[in-house]
Amino acid sequence: MAGGTFGRALVVDVEVGAGEVVPLPEHVQRSYLGGVGLGTWLLHELSDPAVDPLDPAAVLAFVFSPLVGTPLTTSAKFAVVARSPLTGMLTDALASSHFAIAGKLTGHDAIAVRGRCPRPSVLLVDGDGPRLIDATDVWGRSAADTEAALAQRLGTGWRTAAIGPAGERGVRYATVSHDGRHAGRGGLGAVLGAKNLKAVAVRAATKVAPADPAGVLTAARDLRARSFGPATAKYRELGTLSNLLAFNAINTLPTRNFATASFDDAPALAAEELHELRQVARNSCASCAIGCEHIYATGRGGGARVEYENVYALGPLCGVSDPDAVLAASARCDELGIDTISAGGTIAWAMSCAEAGLLDAPWLRFGDGAALLRALDELAAGTGIGPLLAEGSARAAAQLGGEAPALTVTVKGLELPGYDPRTLPAMALGLAVNARGADHNRSGAYEADLGGELDRFAPGDAHVAAAIETEDRAAVIDSMILCRFLRGVFEEPFDEWAELLALVTGWDLDGAELRATARRIVLAKRMFNLRAGWTPADDGLPRRLFDTPLTLPSGRTAALDRERLTAMIASYHRARGLDADGRPSPEAYADLHLRAPLPDAAPVP
């Protein structure tokens, strides 16, 4: 068995509270590592991708990795993987800290759940196996309150991942969170909620050693030292919110539901302005030397974790410049347990609809912080437009009909993050083709657009190659798992990651093998989607982005060219070894080690 792993997953049927240990063959572990990679393989093996994500038969997996529990900085991370109720595709979100360590040290590389609890429950897993306890007392409470209540009830050593009220109510972009950090995208919280599962609590029961403990310790010291360098300074000093003014200056800050890509009032929300005035704390995940979390005072006596994405989505995207309103909205999203990007994206879409007379909510206006908070209140209460917003913008638009779908800005039903594809052509491709949908973590192609080497306004083959390279890097770093904020400290990532993994697992790895691993993980995700009904039409960007060119301050027009993007997508598919229907060669499919046969091409709808 590989060092740093247990070679097994625990699969719990929460309907009866019974668990089954599923062996993880070493060749599978080596092929998928852990995290999102292993999670993808598990979903293929344990579930039918065609099953509705909110059906009791659906599977959700918490997946750890070989590096969890080592002293390597930022390694205390876990993936949550399931079919998304928002997109119908695979979704794989990461969160961090003690839950990862305690969860793995239950003696399992993954904990998967299926079924539906007869009543609101908490799943406990430790050395005594899985069991359910009643969750009636915490049902309806926030994830943070739930964690606190369970810590008191269960005693020391237990670590909890929980959902908020939104997950219980099936909001399709509800999160799973631990210690204030969310596995945020794709509605994983709704999947747990549909299982009547308020939380999963884990307690360490065993230990696991790396193959080369001394080597790991030396590597950890080196990595820790490097993590204090300039590559992570941005995250330490101001956090990701420091993107806001920079992105505004380079016309890539989506504003007012993508009507523009710059926001005149951006300075009011900028880290550079708010840091001195509002920061009340900094925090780190377990086993992290970076410390990227910046907590700001909300102005209402509370605090909110501030990230670029939540401020973007609840601020400029909704045209709101009042920091009190934006921070309060962010805190409200945390209380409800919802993804801030999809929340802001859905509300911004609703604002466009209200503006166009497509939605009977005349109070819902761009720039109105009170309206933003009211929309969240209605979402929380299930009143007014709340039930519509709970569906996410794509499904809500389909309900409204008419021109409402043309106002959505989603890929595969997932709302776009704060990287405007009209001025980031490599990222445009990355967003269009990624398995999870419009996502900035599984595709980091913006790095190429903003690295100074590629032309931001003349996409070509180099942009396609860059999108593939960053997607491959993400596939590995999210499977090892290390924090993406650490990626800048690696000069030869695949080679250096192979060395770290070799020290932990004992495998004779090199960078070339990890590159093959990356391609395998990306392909496995796509195959899950194909089995779930993906068609080539799902790889693309929304109409609104083509219909709304940007006029830059110089007078230049930045517009997406549909033909060019189509050509780039085709080039991407070829480079990934896929045919026109998105299917790989039989040899490539066999390399995925899946029991399910190569799926037929999905019928064109």
């Binding site: 300039p230 101001l238 920079a246 992105f247 550079e272 993050p417 790095e447 903003l450």
Partner: protein, 276 residues
Amino acid sequence: MGIVLVGGRSSRMGAPKASLDWHGVTLLQRTVGILARAVDGGVLAVRAPGQPLPDLLDDVTVVDDDEEGLGPMQGLAVGLAAADGAEVAFVCSTDLPFLHPAFVRRVLAAFTVDTDAVVPHAHGHRQPLAAGYRTALAPTVTGLLAAGARKPAMVLEACRTRWLEEDDLLADPALAAVDPHLDSVRNINVPEEYEAALAVPLPTVTIERFGTLARGDEHRGIEVAAATLGAAADAAGVVLDQHVVAALNGERITRDPTVPLVAGDRVAFISADAGG
């Protein structure tokens, strides 16, 4: 497309103009850099046989003009013929240190379907070496050369030329704001003109620093005098290493210190790591 005609003996200057220093870069780097900022489709540099050139970026295409002694008209023919894929090109000589991208854009914007060349008439002279040409003119120019013509003016008589007077040029508010005296066409031929040009105050540009590059209110823009991105970085106290990039007027992202700056530019220094 932009075409710089680098050939010529620079006999009155007494030294190759292309290699003259211009505030830390060569004059050719300056002119090529300005064109690269203003045009789509890249820049060609047309040189005489064996003519040594100062270092240029990889994306500048150097074209050899095999015929010597036929003057700029020969360079024009070679450049237009080499400008594959472009319909029109802005063609200029090396020695225009005050050329502004807004001037180039103004000239190119004046093309219509009935126009083969757009030529400014400024500072009392026609400016065929700071002008726009349809690339389809290449055979015409070659034919005129074969017939013994040597002056670009003869090309202009043989095609549909639109003349842009100073008032026409300055009717463009973008150009009028940044080059009100049309110094874009001011060339240098002798050492005295070169020295006088060097003495002109450097362009005023606005620099902004964001994120960890800013201290206090440094993210708010300040004005500095700088002819290149490298000089602006020095003024900002920013090192253009792998952790930093510069955004020029919110559009081009680069860390090339030789990128030329002009009056009115806005340079934002940001973290190269855009993760969020």
